[in-house]
């Protein structure tokens, strides 16, 4: 079995399951929409810079909504031990992890795109000139979050209160990633270029590499009975 084909088959299977119910995508989007509406009513736009507000709200919304999807990504594997079917197949364990990561990343990118669009409406900013820069920030941070979240979801899916455990594990460890995202987003929304946020993007890439490598190395141990 070609390694990359194995990765794609696992990701494709997850996306196919999602299209049968749209459970994960719809729950993420409803949570994101709820948070954005609440902030939109709660915040006084005359007292704060729009870029500061929007960056903060965006990066509260995305991680919280993402945790929902990440937890559910492993629920289907543990329910009826479908994961055993993957582990029995002639497929490297790291390919299973990367396949799950890829499907989670694609869902987070859909969430990110829709949340950015909604944020532009609620916070009244023009998305077009900043779309490329913000898109890159969302992509890099979603990758780190998906890498870390897929790893922790593997672990927490074994626990009775897995969703609580996932929040407790994931959010504290992901704080550097979220801070880097906020620090990258604010200048971009204020109209400054990518050059200004380069150190934060480099930090994010480093965290992406570390989290993905950790997932590739540890996934096999976390899936043993």
């Amino acid at each position: 079995m070609n390694y990359l084909r194995g990765v794609w088959l696992v990701a494709r299977k997850d996306l196919l399951s999602e299209t049968r119910t749209f459970e994960r995508l719809s729950s993420m989007l409803f949570l994101a929409l709820t948070i954005l509406v609440i902030f939109n009513f709660a915040l006084d736009f005359s007292r704060w810079q729009m870029a500061d507000l929007a960056a903060g709200v965006l990066w509260v919304t995305l991680p919280l909504a993402a945790v929902l999807a990440l937890h559910d990504s492993f629920r289907a594997e543990r329910e009826d031990q479908a994961l055993w079917g993957l582990l029995l197949a002639p497929l490297d364990e790291s390919a299973i992890y990367l396949g799950k990561l890829l499907s989670n990343l694609l869902l987070l990118l859909i969430l990110g795109a829709l949340t950015l669009g909604l944020s532009a409406v609620f916070f009244n900013f023009n998305l077009v000139p900043v779309a490329a820069g913000l898109g890159l920030v969302v992509l890099l941070n979603a990758l780190g979050f998906a890498a870390l979240g897929t790893l922790f979801a593997t672990l927490s899916s074994r626990a009775r209160r897995g969703e609580v455990l996932l929040h407790l594990l994931l959010l504290p460890v992901a704080i550097p990633l979220i801070l880097a995202a906020v620090r990258s987003t604010t200048p971009l929304l204020a109209g400054r270029g990518l050059g200004e946020v380069r150190p934060w993007l480099q930090l994010t890439v480093a965290m992406d590499v570390i989290f993905t490598t950790a997932g590739v190395l540890l996934f096999g141990y976390l899936t043993e009975e």
């Binding site: 079995m1 049968r20 009826d80 031990q81 055993w84 582990l87 002639p90 490297d92 096999g220 009975e225």
Partner: protein, 240 residues
């Protein structure tokens, strides 16, 4: 000389202080049908999990057809040799039986998959439910799906953990027929079961496990009385 289908040397598993399987030496020749019997907690399921590489042994080693049982890169030859059916469904509830079989078939790189899946669905009586979500199937149908998945890549070794649990008579008949057919086709079968009647009907060899130890390994006797007496003697105290 052909290596045995299953060979273990001092294979053991502990969960903390609890010994799930004491060091076990076992050989099963290719083509044998071995019934693993014993009371709850005897180590039957643990042995099958270890042979399927779903659990890591605390000590010792196992080989399937001469290939070491292990996970990670380079272990695909051993994995291709195994078809595993356990208590759980080992399939995706949201996907249909057809989608499940196609997915697992692609993981094994099986050629002519569409025709193979159609034939498998028909063989296990799932053609009518082929496009329903697997979660909506009855327990018997789910068990048939599990067996269809395990046999799809035609593995030479079947590891079955209580495959007849909670099955209706129709599903039991289908499963018994499939196992007889697999055995006639020369596949090696290790079946953990509490059902002595079913074991007597299918198996040519019997191993009795008790509290993680191999208490007996013998040719399966003929007759229900002989089976019951052999089991009582090996499994020890009444009630176990």
């Amino acid at each position: 000389m052909m290596p045995p289908a299953v060979r273990t040397r001092a294979l053991s598993k502990r969960y903390g202080a609890r010994v799930a399987l004491a060091p076990l030496d076992l050989e099963v020749a290719a083509g044998e049908f071995l019934a693993l019997v014993g009371p709850n907690g005897a180590g039957k399921s643990t042995l099958l999990l270890l042979l399927a590489a779903l659990a890591r042994p605390s000590d010792g080693q196992a080989w399937l057809f001469g290939h070491p049982v292990e996970r990670g890169p380079g272990s695909s030859a051993g994995r291709r040799a195994v078809g595993y059916v356990g208590h759980p469904l080992i399939a995706y509830r949201a996907l249909s039986p057809r989608q499940n079989l196609e997915f697992f078939g692609r993981l094994y790189g099986l050629p002519g998959l569409e025709a193979l899946v159609d034939a498998s669905l028909a063989r296990f009586g799932l053609a009518e439910q082929a496009d329903d979500p697997a979660g909506s199937l009855s327990r018997g149908q789910q068990q048939r799906l599990s067996l269809a998945r395990a046999l799809l890549h035609e593995p030479p070794l079947l590891l079955l953990d209580e495959p007849f649990n909670s099955l209706d008579s129709e599903a039991t008949g289908v499963l018994s027929g499939a196992l007889r057919q697999a055995s006639r086709a020369g596949r090696t079968v290790l079946m953990a079961t509490h059902d002595l009647d079913r074991a007597r009907e299918l198996a040519g060899q019997v191993a009795v496990l008790r509290r993680g130890h191999l208490a007996l390994r013998a040719e399966a006797p003929a007759g229900a009385q002989a089976w019951a007496s052999l089991y009582r003697r090996a499994a020890g105290e009444a009630g176990e």
